[in-house]
């Protein structure tokens, strides 16, 4: 059942983003930024967390889940460290993925044959 929910919620978020692309002049980069900001705001005010618990990867894997992870990390680090957490928390959950993206992205770019 969790797989069906993840498929449907993740699919709906992507379908909504596609609708925005179809009916506006925004680029995919704009839509990615918008969804991340939306996720960070909803994560910050605590709305995204119940959504994550219901939808699982359907809420986590779209970039809105990445945005909510930024805000969630900040809030938990503020509780632990105080004001410093406002800065370190951005990478508390997302840091692993970001460093992974840099490492794997570089490795792939070096290993892959350049295409024209």
């Amino acid at each position: 059942m969790s797989y069906v929910i993840a498929f449907v919620t993740g699919g709906l978020i992507c379908a909504a983003a596609q609708l925005v692309l179809e009916y506006t002049n925004l680029t995919p980069a704009h839509v990615l930024v918008g969804l991340t900001v939306l996720g960070a705001i909803l994560g910050g005010i605590g709305v995204y967390e119940p959504f994550l618990q219901v939808a699982g990867a359907g809420a986590l894997v779209p970039v809105s889940g990445f945005g909510s992870s930024i805000a969630k990390g900040m809030l938990s680090e503020i509780k632990r460290l105080g004001w410093e957490g406002l800065f370190t928390g951005a990478f508390e959950i997302t840091g692993l993925g970001l460093a992974a993206a840099v490492v794997f992205g570089s490795l792939v770019a070096v290993a892959a044959k350049p295409r024209d």
């Binding site: 980069a29 839509v31 894997v61 889940g65 992870s69």
Partner: protein
Amino acid sequence: MKPQEYQQLVKENQPPRHVWKNVLLAFLVGGAICLVGQAVLEFVSGVERTTDEAAAVTLAIMILIGSILTGLGIYDEIAEQGGAGAAVPITGFSNTITAAAMEFRREGFILGMGAKMFVIAGPVLVYGILSGFVVALIKAVVLGHF
């Protein structure tokens, strides 16, 4: 020709758009990627101690998958069909980083690959962090965490 007439002409000669087909494809491709993500999340949840750690590792594994598929040239084909369904999941975020690294490598490792790797992912990070910062700051002040 008046601007309005020109606009009309452009409209008439545009290729027909398959909006609902594209939306359906975005739904299917995005859903399929999240389905894979759910399998990863459930596997990782059995190994990691907290939900935050499980989320972090799941995101990293999806980023690895996106990166490899980009290197093999498969992600471009998925993106061609899936549109936002390929761009919106975190694999698409990873795709923008890897694709930029591959594309700009020919301009050198420092000012090419290094500088331009985050050409699309950068704004996502900047505005994600800024908006999270503002909301977390307000929440922490209101709740008296400082």
